[in-house]
Amino acid sequence: MPCIGPDGTLTESAKALLKLVEHPSAPEDIAARLGHPLFLVRASLRELVGADLVRAEGGKYWISDQGREKLQSA
């Protein structure tokens, strides 16, 4: 699900996802908590990692400082 609009703003689904990854989480857990299909969560996380808004390691994802700032200013 696209997370960042052409003007750089976060979509509502991206905001919901960023709020959920305050602590390292697996895509499966995120999908279950958001009620979204796993394939969409994987694609969203890939986009957010590419934008440096989320960090990833060992199959877990968490919000970056940049992501936190973006979320607060949204």
């Binding site: 997370c3 694609a43 890939r46 986009e47």
Partner: protein
């Protein structure tokens, strides 16, 4: 004299890994690998804003919840832009009252259509035919169904094939013609003479002969 070599892409084969791709869709950029762990019905349609395709999209959307119950996702494809897809999805919802809940690939560069052999030049050089690819949770291509441009697909058959494949995987059996969930299944034929003799005395299966035995699933 220059020799021209025409490269024909090798088409996907049943039982082989489904060709991987990354594509722009109505749900953002998706990779096939994003669907790992779920089954996937990937289908192509000739073009947006055409009548047979519209009936199919409504029908696919109606079976989407049932597919989800089978741990199966759904994704469409045509050689149209994502803007055309979005406009058509909104038109279907407005005019026919059906929300389209699955992603649709905008395959303008024909990357996925070529990879999967979805264009049938004998029918149309510019449109994808009505192809259905059933990919399992390990991303193995398990079934392919092709329909011509004129003929809308049968959703019950697509559901039935997925249910049959999942039943075969779970129970190590095959399914007979016109099988539906709840019907008797086919026990794989005996492979040795000893096994054939044992099969004929096996009280848990119903045999017409040693090679043709059926049973009920419990």
């Amino acid at each position: 004299m220059t020799e021209q070599v025409q490269q024909t892409p090798s088409l996907p084969r049943l039982g082989s890994p489904a060709p991987q791709f990354e594509a722009v869709t109505t749900h953002g950029t998706l990779k096939l690998e994003d669907f790992k762990g779920s089954w996937l019905v990937m289908f192509s349609h000739p073009a947006d804003f055409t009548p047979v395709c519209t009936t199919e999209f409504v029908a696919f959307a109606k079976i989407h919840p049932k597919l989800r119950e089978l741990n199966c996702e759904l994704m469409g494809l045509s050689i149209d832009s994502v803007y055309s897809h979005i406009a058509w999805m909104r038109n279907i919802e407005e005019k026919l009252g059906q929300k389209i809940t699955f992603p649709v690939i905008a395959d303008l560069d024909r990357q996925v259509a070529t990879l999967y052999g979805m264009v049938m030049p004998g029918e149309s050089k510019t449109e994808t035919s009505r192809c259905v690819f059933i990919i399992d949770d390990k991303q193995i291509l398990r079934a392919m169904i092709y329909y011509p441009l004129t003929t809308g697909r049968n959703m019950d058959e697509i559901l039935r094939v997925i249910q049959a494949l999942q039943t075969s995987d779970k129970h190590g059996v095959a399914t007979p013609a016109n099988w539906h969930p709840g019907d008797k299944v086919i026990v794989p034929p005996a492979k040795t003479q000893e096994m054939a003799e044992q099969r004929m005395t096996d009280k848990t299966v119903e045999c017409k002969d040693w090679y043709f035995c059926m049973k009920e699933l419990k």
